[in-house]
Amino acid sequence: MSAALELLEKSAGEVSAQVRSRAISAVEVTQGALDRIEALNPQLRAFITVMTKQAQAEAAAVDRLIASGRDLPLAGVPIAIKDSFDVAGVPTTAGSKILANSRPQADAESVKRLRDAGCVVVGKSSLHEFAYGFTSRNPHYGDCRNPWDPARIPGGSSGGNAVALATGMVLGAIGGDTGGSIRLPAALCGVVGLKVTYGLVSRHGGVPLSWSIDTVGPMARTVADAARLLQAMAGYDAKDSACSRLPVPDYLADLGRDLKGVRIGIPHQGFFEPLDPEVGTAMQDSLEALKLAGAELVDVDWPSLEPVVGAHRSVLFAEASAAHEKMIRFQAAELSDDVRPLLQAGLFLTSGQYLAAQQARRKVIEQYRGLWSRFDLLVTPTSPIPAPEIGATTTRLDDREVPLVRAFLDLTLPFNLTGQPALALPCGFTRAGLPIGLQLVGRPFAERLLLQAGAAFEAARGLPARVPAVVRT
């Protein structure tokens, strides 16, 4: 493979520009991605289905369109699709063997839009079964592994996407986020993930987990690439009843602007304590970088997360079990041992518990709306710890044993409950070489400001480029 096709050294923006100018072809780029997948996927299990022939044909079609004069903003960019979203003619397993023989006739709307923009789908990426977990362990298709240390989890549920991006198998991906499923793997694998405002991107063609919380969003290697992908994905779709009719702004317009006049809130309680000490150091360095970029930092008293967690659990469990009730009742034995009890338990919830959670949810939205009058963005760690070893169920924080489900999701799920956008991006590495992630949160539909801040942070923080050792061996 020529150096020009080393995807780890390029952004989606650079590759698409070169394909548009015909300096390289989409076929060459795609082959580079497929070669890397062939070399690394047996160990890392980033993909459930690799679409070799379809991707080669799709890339050739992109080259023909470019030759005919078509302007495709993401020409030749190889992407992964989380295997809970439809790609025509390819099984959508959702990580479950129950759906192994599904054959969708059409692309999910977000997939269609990225293909229309010139992206080439190279495969369906690994996930926790039905996206109902944060480890991306999967007994049906193999455990997805963290490329920075394959003995550790990549996070989930969109773990395959993060692994594929961190190792240069792809330059973009479509993920889903209901409790942190885009942001957590982005943080643990050192890539960028955007959980969008509920209703900004069509969920059509996706396997639901929680109808009133599910979001579809981009994952990428840089903030600018995430913006490019979002530009193509966002906007009204009549096939999704939750889709907003608001016009889509230019997400690239403010990239490169500093953060003068932007107030960023720091919620110390709940989000900044307790933290792994190395995460704490990286966060302090990150706050300095945000100041360097021009932001005004504002300390904020934050209300308790306990009712937020309770409300999110209640809504998620009830909706997930309603969505998958037929499988729970008639195919429970085919579900994995960790997802089966979650789906079964949701059937025991009462309508009173669900409605109480939705009452609390409305109050949380009002409360957060009030808090956001004091600042424009919120900054938190994405995860209080780096990637744990495969099989761990708890972690030690401040000499307390904390369940991983609480350690990981308490910092991300509040913004699923409220529907707000949140961007996860790399902010450092531990001494052992594990990535650490930062989270920026905005008001609903403030993705433009969020991406501007993310890009300004990237520039100010100036992390040196690193490559997982597994890529070099």
């Binding site: 109480a356 609390a360 609903p444």
Partner: protein, 69 residues
Amino acid sequence: MPDDQPQRLSETTVRRMAQDVVRLPLTEAMVEPVRSTLEGLFNEIAAIKPEDREGFEPLSQVILEEWSR
């Protein structure tokens, strides 16, 4: 009024609820994982106190357009 004691669920209770209320067939091996999941879930939901929701109608549709600067 609910108290602040953590809720404990027995396997017998789960079996009875599964059979009489939910009508969900559970094998013996499935009972304990459901029991422990439900116990944790009920306790997390119990963290929603009356003051965390009183005065608010349940959210029936997530519409966020009006939350602007």
